[in-house]
Symmetry: C2
Subunit: 114 residues, 2 copies
DNA sequence: CCGTATCCGTGCCGATACTG
DNA sequence: CAGTATCGGCACGGATACGG
């Protein structure tokens, strides 16, 4: 990564770069909430996400050490995703993000009703 | 926004959608740290960001009520950016993101130094 | 100093079909 | 069930030049 060249004094940029993309935070949040979740279940939760997109983001998250992939060689096949220990350290951020969104939504509600 | 149609039960998606883009979190963080900052100073801090990009993201953030823009009709002109009250409510998330990045960076350091 | 205008590349993301 | 292959659109972001 060319991170430290340009932004060595900016840790938040490291975080943003590591978890870039439209879906990654949501994926991480789902994993945090569900602990363990199968591929199709995750896909269901995130529809209308495309397979290609979900698959790729999961792979990147796995490569970055944030997500663990456990494959069972059964028929039909079963694959379960969960957060790694490092991934779990994001939990406070995920919770705050969710809370912030909820507050903004309820505020917007007041604006409408109020 | 088509948010509530598809993701009404997922507040974190609201947050992500609101603060989308490669730079927005970093911009918000800088504003949070500096309280008030002039355009060119911000641009300096975020180089190699392009003017077009910085300008647009600032406008979007302003339109979303997260950033306040104060213009002084002097010569030479002066424009100062700061967080709105709503923008300030993101402070805990920004701090956590920065801390998380710092931890990951120092961990990576340990891996190297062994 | 503080941006906008213009032009353009690229890479993210989606749809659909197909495989082990 | 759990993905990959292929194709393509389009919006995001960058470089540069110019305007108030």
């Amino acid at each position: 990564m060319d991170f430290d060249v340009k932004f060595g004094n900016c840790p938040i940029y490291y975080t943003i770069s590591k978890i870039e993309g439209k879906w990654k935070w949501v994926i991480l949040y789902k994993l945090h909430k569900c602990k363990v979740i199968r591929y199709n279940r995750l896909w269901d939760e995130l529809k209308p996400i495309a397979h290609r997109t979900l698959s790729r983001q999961l792979k990147e998250l796995e490569a970055d050490g944030l997500v663990h992939r456990e494959q069972y060689n059964e028929i039909p096949p079963r694959v379960e995703y969960s957060l790694t220990l490092v991934g779990e350290t994001l939990a406070p951020i995920l919770e705050l993000m969710s809370e912030w969104g909820a507050e903004q939504l309820s505020n917007a509600q007041f604006q409408h009703d109020g």
